[in-house]
C-alpha cells in the first residue's frame, strides 16, 4: 500500500470511527457512480474515480465496442495512420480498471428518481451521474441536408467509418478534381481541427494529385485558431492547392447535384464535399433538459462540473457551455473528467473540496506529413467570476511548424490515450 492509498483508507476509517451511527451502515455500502459515454471525458472520469476513490463502484455505459480517437484522425486522410492505431476496446479498459461496462445507449435520465432508462429497456440507478456524450450535429440548420446528402457529403467529425469513407473517396478521385470543405460557426469541437484537415488534404493533393484543388468554406469570419501559422503553411506549401473563403454560411444543400449554395450568394459544385455540420451538446443532454444554455450547451459549476440544471448530475467534455476561450478538445475533456472525479470523491468522503482547480490544454495540429504546430493554455478557476480564466502570460503558440513538434504531437497522442483509455489495443 502506498501513502496515498493509506491516507484514503485512513480517511474512511476515521470517518467510521467518529460516526459509528446508523447512517453509516448505509454509507459503508459502496457509492454507485455511473458514467455515460466512454469518450475522452467519460473514460477519464471513470478511470480517475477508481483511482481517487477505490471503494466507489463505477459503471460505464457506452454503446460502441471501441473507443476511437478523433485526435490525429485527420492523418488518416493521407495514409500516415490507420483506424486501428486510434482504436481501443472497451472490454479491456473495463477489466483493467475494475469498471462495470454496460454496452448500451442511455435514452432517458430521470434526475428526480436518479434512474436511467437504456435503449434495451433496462433501468439503472445511480448515486452520482457523469454525462459525457460529446457533440451532436444540428442538421436542421442545413436546409436540404437529408439522409442521401449526408451519405454523399461525409463529416468525418466523429472518427470511425466516416473518416475511412472520406479517405477512400479522396483517394478514388482523379487528378484535377475539386474538393470542398465546409466549417460550421463556432463553437464546434476542436477549433483548429478543420484547418488541420485542410492542410493535410493539401499535403495529399500536393504529393498525389497536384492538378486538384481544395476549397475551404468557413462560416466564421476568419480562421479561428493558430491563424498565422495555418496561413503561412498554406502560402508556402499549398499555394494554388488550398483556397480559403470566410463568412460562407450555407443557405441550401443539393445532395443530388453535389452542390451547395451560400448565404452570401453563389453555388459551388464539387467532386467531393466534406461538410462539418453545426454542433450542439450530445442528443442525450438535449433530450433530458441538461442543455440549459441557449438550448444548445450544458451549464455547469466549474468546481465540480455539476449541472446547473440537476443536482448530482455532472456534465463534462464537448457538451458543456465552457468559459470564454475554453476549447472543446479531448485534452480539456480529459482534464474536466479528473476535476469532476476529484470533486465527487471529496464530497462523498466529506473531505474538503478543491477550491481552485487548474486545468490545461495543448492542441497539436499537423500541417504537413511530419510537421506540427500547437496552441496551449492554462485555465484557473476564478472564485470571483465563477469561470475558468486563461492565466495571463501562460500558454501560447508554436514559433513555427516543425518536425520536432510532430514527434511531440504523436507522443502526446500515445500518452493521452494511455491516460484516458489505456494502451491495450485491439
Amino acid at each position: 500500500m502506498d501513502r496515498r492509498q493509506f491516507v484514503s483508507l485512513a480517511a474512511q476509517a476515521s470517518v467510521l470511527a467518529v460516526a459509528g451511527s446508523s447512517p453509516f451502515l448505509r454509507a459503508q455500502s459502496r457509492p454507485n457512480v455511473v458514467v455515460i459515454g466512454g469518450g475522452f471525458g467519460g473514460a477519464t472520469a471513470a478511470r480517475y474515480l477508481r483511482k481517487f476513490y477505490p471503494q466507489a463502484q463505477v459503471t460505464l455505459i457506452e454503446p460502441q465496442p471501441y473507443f476511437v480517437s478523433c485526435p490525429m484522425s485527420n492523418r488518416l486522410l493521407h495514409g500516415a495512420i490507420g483506424l486501428k492505431d486510434l482504436s481501443r476496446p472497451y472490454a479491456g479498459f473495463a477489466s483493467a480498471n475494475g469498471l462495470q461496462w454496460i454496452q448500451d445507449r442511455v435514452n432517458t435520465i430521470n434526475a428526480a428518481k436518479k434512474e436511467l432508462t437504456l435503449a434495451s429497456g433496462k433501468r439503472v440507478s445511480y448515486d452520482r451521474l457523469i454525462v459525457s456524450p460529446g457533440v451532436d450535429f444540428d442538421y436542421a440548420a442545413l436546409p436540404g441536408m437529408d439522409a442521401a446528402a449526408r451519405a454523399k457529403m461525409p463529416h468525418a467529425w466523429k472518427a470511425g467509418q466516416e473518416t475511412v469513407a472520406l479517405r477512400d473517396r479522396l483517394h478514388a478521385l482523379p487528378d484535377g478534381a475539386t474538393i470542398a470543405m465546409h466549417i460550421p460557426k463556432a463553437p464546434y469541437r476542436c477549433p483548429p481541427g478543420p484547418y488541420e484537415r485542410a492542410s493535410l488534404i493539401g499535403y495529399y493533393l500536393k504529393s498525389r494529385k497536384p492538378k486538384s484543388k481544395l476549397l475551404v468554406f468557413d462560416a466564421n469570419p476568419e480562421i479561428l485558431s493558430k491563424k498565422e501559422l495555418f496561413q503561412k503553411t498554406w502560402k508556402t506549401q499549398y499555394s494554388g492547392l488550398v483556397e480559403y473563403l470566410p463568412n460562407a454560411d450555407i443557405a441550401q444543400v443539393d445532395g443530388a447535384q453535389n452542390e451547395i449554395e451560400f448565404k452570401i450568394g453563389g453555388k459551388v459544385k464539387a467532386d467531393l464535399w466534406n461538410v462539418i455540420p453545426p454542433q450542439r451538446a450530445g442528443e442525450l443532454a438535449i433530450n433530458n433538459g441538461l442543455a440549459n444554455v441557449n438550448n444548445r450547451w450544458c451549464g455547469v459549476d466549474f468546481l465540480s462540473y455539476e449541472s446547473t440544471a440537476f443536482q448530482d448530475v455532472h456534465v463534462i467534455g464537448d457538451s458543456i457551455s465552457g468559459s470564454p476561450g475554453m476549447p472543446k478538445s479531448g485534452h480539456m475533456a480529459n482534464q474536466e473528467g479528473k476535476v469532476a472525479a476529484a470533486a465527487i470523491t471529496q464530497e462523498l468522503l466529506q473531505l474538503p473540496a478543491v477550491t481552485e482547480p487548474v486545468i490545461a490544454n495543448t492542441c497539436y495540429s499537423f500541417v504537413t506529413k511530419n510537421d506540427a504546430i500547437h496552441v496551449a493554455a492554462v485555465y484557473r478557476y476564478s472564485a470571483e467570476t465563477k469561470q475558468m480564466v486563461a492565466v495571463k502570460g501562460a500558454g501560447g503558440l508554436s514559433d513555427a511548424a516543425s518536425t520536432l513538434e510532430g514527434v511531440y504531437a504523436m507522443a502526446w497522442l500515445t500518452n493521452i490515450l494511455d491516460d484516458t483509455i489505456g494502451s491495450v489495443t485491439a
Binding site: 501513502r3 496515498r4 491516507v7 485512513a10 480517511a11 476509517a13 476515521s14 470511527a17 467518529v18 460516526a19 447512517p23 448505509r26 454509507a27 457509492p31 454507485n32 480517475y48 483511482k51 481517487f52 448515486d127 448530482d312 480529459n334 482534464q335 479528473k338 476529484a342 471529496q346 464530497e347 462523498l348 468522503l349 466529506q350 473531505l351 474538503p352 478543491v354 487548474v358 490545461a360 495543448t362 500547437h374 496551449a376 493554455a377 492554462v378 484557473r380 492565466v391 502570460g393 501562460a394 500558454g395 501560447g396 508554436s398 516543425s402 520536432l404 513538434e405 514527434v407 511531440y408 504523436m410 507522443a411 502526446w412 500515445t414 500518452n415 493521452i416 494511455d418 491516460d419 484516458t420
Partner: protein, 109 residues
C-alpha cells in the same frame, strides 16, 4: 447519496481525526493538500503519463529527484529554460504549486 454521507461533524473535525490517525505522516490540513496536489498531478499525467512514466523523449518525470524536477519546472516558469511548450504551461502555476508537483513526481523512481 449526499444525504447518506451528510454526517453531523464538519470537515475540520475529519481533518483533525485524520491527523491523529495518521500521526507522524500528516499535517493537520493534509487531506485537503493531498487532493489539491493529487488532482493537479493528475492533470499533468495527460502528457506525462501515470506516475510521470510517459513514453517519448524528454517527457518522463519519474526517476528524477525533487531538486532536479524543481529546478526544471521553476526554470521553465522563469523563462530560463525554453521548451517547445513546457515554458508556456509552467507560467500558469505558482512557484509553490510547481514545488509541490516536483515533490509529488519525485516519489516515482
Amino acid at each position: 447519496m449526499v444525504n447518506v454521507f451528510k454526517i453531523t461533524f464538519s470537515n475540520l473535525r475529519i481533518a483533525a481525526a485524520l491527523s491523529i490517525f495518521c500521526a507522524g505522516i500528516a499535517l493537520p490540513s493534509y487531506a485537503q493538500t493531498d487532493m489539491n496536489v493529487r488532482l493537479m498531478a493528475a492533470t499533468c499525467q495527460s502528457c506525462h503519463g501515470k506516475e510521470g512514466r510517459a513514453q517519448g523523449v524528454g517527457l518522463r518525470l519519474s526517476g528524477q529527484s525533487e531538486e532536479e524536477l524543481e529546478r526544471k519546472l521553476l526554470g521553465y516558469r522563469s523563462g530560463q529554460i525554453k521548451g517547445t511548450v513546457m515554458h508556456q504551461h509552467a507560467k500558469g502555476y505558482t512557484e509553490a504549486e510547481l514545488k509541490a508537483l516536483a515533490r509529488h513526481f519525485a516519489q516515482f523512481k
